[in-house]
């Protein structure tokens, strides 16, 4: 997979949109799909409360998952645009993309604009 399709968080459209293209519908579903797993919800929650970026080794414990599985989930969240990845030496630090999460909240908001 050398392709890097644009993150769903950048293509999604609000559920209240008057018309929704197929691409927007797919992107919106993909965005929700990224959060459709309990472990990924937990990851986002951990990153939301931690104001510091977190590395993979800090997540395997709280999640009770193997390291490959944690990397797998992180990759999905990054692909969706919800997480940012940064390398510091040997470590890979992940942090929340607050802009993407703002957009997610707006997608689910049935009333008007983005304050």
């Amino acid at each position: 997979m050398t392709e890097t399709p644009t993150p769903a968080a950048q293509c999604c459209a609000p559920l209240r949109a008057p018309t929704l293209s197929d691409a927007e519908t797919a992107a919106t579903a993909a965005l929700f799909k990224a959060l459709s797993d309990p472990h990924r919800v937990r990851i986002v929650n951990l990153l939301a409360v931690a104001d510091e970026a977190v590395c993979v080794c800090d997540l395997t414990g709280p999640l009770s998952l193997s390291q490959p599985t944690v990397s797998h989930h992180l990759k999905k969240l990054v692909a969706a645009g919800l997480l940012d990845r940064e390398r510091r030496g040997t470590w890979a630090y992940y942090s929340l993309n607050r802009t993407a999460l703002r957009r997610l909240a707006d997608v689910a908001d049935l009333r008007g604009g983005t304050p």
Copy 2:
């Protein structure tokens, strides 16, 4: 399936919550999972723009899906608490549960309370 587990939309907790129980995490993931399919996103969008309740036969066309498949998706959305079902004679009318969608928007909102 005679069990009727409480809808995810009533058990979910915001992603910004300081601590998230396993049950809350699972419910939150289940809520997102209900919207992780493009056809279900389309259904919610159709119901969001239509201020009238909609029956199954009105959805098979726009979705290009068979009637059993549409019923299957509707059932999942109702189970998640996002849709309400009402029988009128032979027809089954579905409508958006605006409270549940409000809650969904709040789940994704990283900043404070529920205005």
